[in-house]
């Protein structure tokens, strides 16, 4: 059973289609990255599957529960909305206490303290939220989403607007939560973050899923050329010219240097041949680096 399964999920506002017939299957236990530019429809998608907005058409199942079993979904799902504000008059502790009661949990004070210390708010737990920094509010947002130990956690831009230190803390927290078996659905603008954390990625553009797969699958799908950097012994001018001509027909681009050469080949299978050509001409190769396309390049290729 998938953690999330959507079938032709669509949301329209008037004539504008914000989410367009999205079919998505998210396996249990994965950290699933959901990428897209501003206005791509990521938050609308999350808001639909968490019951905040009604789909215009299509259906979805969360942890096997259909959309009309919202109360069952709420018990097993945690949500960090994209923009989190809290009650100014409450402290972090009273927020979590209030939210756990809404979820009909009967957590002890110790349980709440454990969650607060998990997100690093234990020292500020009795301070009213109006005095919190943006980063602290994000942490409280995460704390409220995991208070009931959900099986599926939606994190909508968990690190946006947060300083570098807090980003690292949130990243380790996400890994920690995932290690406990929680499926995580993470949306982000930060490609590096998604690449670093996620097992599987979907890219949304203009309301539709443009591509989905693991990083390797996306690379294989969108990778056009492979750039190889070869660090070798110092080559004479004569050797450089000879080497340059021996690659004819094999490479897309070739740039032989004195100690480092850059060879661009059309497929991964040609990498051993490139190495053989160097070794065959009695050139010692010290290091061979294969430059793979980053998620950013794949993302830009989809434009």
């Amino acid at each position: 059973m998938d953690a999330l399964q959507t079938n032709q999920l669509t949301k329209t506002y008037g004539k504008k289609t914000v989410v367009n017939s999205v079919d998505l299957h998210i396996p249990r236990g994965a950290i699933f990255g959901f990428l897209g530019k501003n206005g791509a429809g990521k938050s609308t998608f999350i808001n639909m599957v968490t019951g905040l907005i009604k789909p215009s058409s299509g259906s979805f199942k969360v942890l096997g529960h259909s959309e009309n079993r919202l109360e069952s979904i709420q018990k097993e799902v945690g949500v960090l909305p994209d923009y989190s504000t809290f009650y100014d008059d409450l402290t972090a502790f009273s927020h979590l206490n209030y939210f756990q009661k809404l979820l009909k949990q009967s957590l002890s004070k110790q349980d709440i303290l454990r969650v607060l210390s998990q997100v690093g708010l234990e020292e500020a737990m009795h301070i009213k939220v109006k005095n919190y920094s943006f980063g602290m509010k994000k942490k409280l947002g995460i704390a409220q989403s995991i208070i009931h130990q959900p099986k599926l956690l939606f994190l909508d831009e968990p690190t946006s607007g947060v300083d570098a230190n807090a980003v690292l803390n949130i990243h380790s927290l996400i890994k920690e939560i995932a290690a406990q078996g929680t499926t995580i659905f993470l949306t982000s603008h930060n490609l590096y973050e998604v690449e670093k954390l996620c097992d599987e990625i979907a890219i949304m553009n203009h309301g539709s899923i443009q591509t989905q797969g693991t990083m390797e699958q996306l690379r294989a799908q969108y990778q056009q050329n492979i750039v190889i950097h070869i660090h070798h012994r110092t080559l004479s001018e004569k050797e450089q010219i000879r080497l340059q001509t021996s690659f004819t027909g094999l490479t897309v681009k070739i740039q032989i240097g004195e100690t480092v050469s850059e060879i661009t080949v059309p497929s991964k299978e040609l990498i051993p041949q490139v190495n053989k050509l160097f070794v065959g001409q009695d050139i010692d190769v010290f290091r061979l680096e294969v430059e793979e396309p980053s998620l950013e390049e794949i993302f830009l290729n989809l434009e």
Partner: protein, 231 residues
């Protein structure tokens, strides 16, 4: 539902505005009772008896309850939507629980305030009228329901406050006017205000219980709209 209600109840007690309203409510009640005490004999002759002590409170409620309720609860639902705290609630409990909880919290707050105000009159009246208490609570619950409904259908708190104030002034005027006019339109409009039912003959006080139907209607309408709404 009760968790939302309890939170609403507590937050109403802690705001400055509510403290001021409680002070006015209690101050006017005790002040009116003291005033009535000075004219006890003539009022007894008029047949008002012990009810005269409660009249101060009832008069205050009839004229100012709409404004009191509006000023405290005009943003009971839409503030949560405006600040997006609703997203924390709606992902943890059902929408029906939110609406019913909001009503219960506000209803409890006013019930406690009116009960305390009536208790404060006891030293003067030497009696406690449960009937008056129920009637006063039903009267106020009309406005709690109306405010909840307005706050559900209007998304901006500033607009619901503006409209709430207009209605708070218009309803008593319209309601009281409808009881003494032959204008069919005004008379018909009067049926949807609680004033028509509260201005019936003394013996027909069962009319006032009919007013309890209105908050139920407002809650049902609010639930219907809120369930369909994108948050």
């Amino acid at each position: 539902m009760f968790t939302v209600g309890l939170r609403e109840f507590r937050s109403l007690f802690t705001s400055i505005r509510s403290i001021l309203i409680i002070a006015v409510l209690f101050g006017v009640t005790v002040g009116a009772a003291r005033l009535v005490r000075q004219f006890e004999a003539p009022l007894q002759e008029l047949g008002l008896g012990q009810d005269a002590y409660v009249m101060g409170l009832m008069l205050l409620l009839i004229l100012a309850a709409p404004l009191f309720v509006t000023s405290l609860s005009h943003s009971i639902v839409n503030k949560e939507i405006d600040t997006r705290t609703i997203r924390f609630l709606a992902t943890k409990t059902s929408r029906s629980n939110i609406i019913l909880g909001k009503f219960i919290g506000s209803f409890l707050f006013w019930s406690v305030c009116i009960t305390v105000a009536l208790l404060l009159i006891i030293p003067f009246s030497k009696s406690f009228s449960v009937l008056n208490l129920i009637q006063a609570i039903i009267f106020v619950s009309y406005f709690i329901g109306l405010t909840l409904f307005l706050s559900t259908i209007i998304s901006k708190p500033s607009l619901s406050m503006f409209l709430g104030i207009i209605i708070s002034i218009a309803l008593p005027v319209l309601g009281l006017w409808s009881t003494g006019t032959d204008n069919l339109f005004i008379k018909t409009l009067g049926y949807v205000t609680p004033y028509f039912y509260y201005m019936q003959e003394e013996n027909d006080h069962y009319y006032t219980y009919f007013v309890a139907f209105f908050p139920i209607l407002f809650i049902v309408l609010s639930l219907f709209i809120f369930r369909k709404r994108d948050l």
